[in-house]
């Protein structure tokens, strides 16, 4: 469901919550989070997962989309992209591990 946001209220953050992990060499665990502001900046002090660029880089395009949607007064998260997974192709396809995150919005603390 699309929620009408107050476009003047920048007091929100984008959270990528780890939904699934398999053989991650960077020891990312389920339910850990990566937190970003609406400018697309990672907030390390609010993040609990190891800050692996292999998943962070995958999230980056969604942050650009989120910002644009927010500026249009829409729910920042596109409903068609609820999950994102890391660049490692996983053990069955020439890689090693695989991390999947779910995107969420929260009020900034």
């Amino acid at each position: 469901m699309t929620i009408k946001f107050d476009a003047t209220d920048k007091n929100i953050e984008i959270v990528a919550k780890v939904a699934h992990v398999r053989h991650c060499a960077n020891f990312i665990k389920e339910n850990e989070i990566f937190v970003f502001d609406l400018e697309g900046r990672l907030l390390p002090s609010k993040s609990t997962a190891n800050l692996c660029l292999g998943i962070l880089a995958r999230i980056q395009p969604a942050l650009m989309i989120a910002r644009e949607r927010f500026q249009c007064g829409l729910d920042p998260l596109p409903v068609t992209v609820p999950y994102l997974d890391c660049f490692d192709t996983g053990i069955d396809f020439g890689g090693m591990g695989k991390v999947t995150v779910e995107l969420l919005v929260r009020k900034a603390s």
Binding site: H23, C24, A25, N26, F27, F36, E39, G40, R41, L42, L43, P44, S45, N50, L51, C52, L53, G54, L56, A57, I59, Q60, L63, M64, F87, I91, F93, G94, G95, M96, G97
Partner: protein, 174 residues
Amino acid sequence: MVKSFYETTHHFRTNHLKNDPLEELREPLSKALDLNEDDFNSLSPEVKNLLSGRRRLGANWLDDFEVVAEVISENGCDCGVKIGQKAVFDMRHRLKPELSDMVCCMNLLSPVLAIFYMTFDRASEGLNPLTRVWTHYECVKTKDSLAENKARVKVYLRDSKTHQIVTSAVLDKS
């Protein structure tokens, strides 16, 4: 007609480590990554090559070095990065926030991931893990200046203990 192995697989055609069970890595890696025996035995040629970098650059090469992305241009940047600021990564491509002083703008740092695809490949050959070619990266946002003004970083390798920059072409210890 029976197809050959290479007609039925998506893996790299030459399996350099086909007869190498990577015995010295089996136990620690299986324990660390929750791999059972079947998982370990099914590691692809690509991953075995990746893991074999330890033999060339030393067992601790992933801890011995860091990759630094240092800002060299800030024109047109809205995120607040400043020339001279740094983002520091370990060789497992994890950001080290305690050693970094730049805002962690993903539009600027995401392209740096490409460095780490090359580091493992180069390490398995005994080379300096940092590419000598692709050392500059820039923000993915293209504004009205048509890419004239962007935040940019240069990337270099340094010793994680001394912070001395490492430029030797070959670091092979084998």
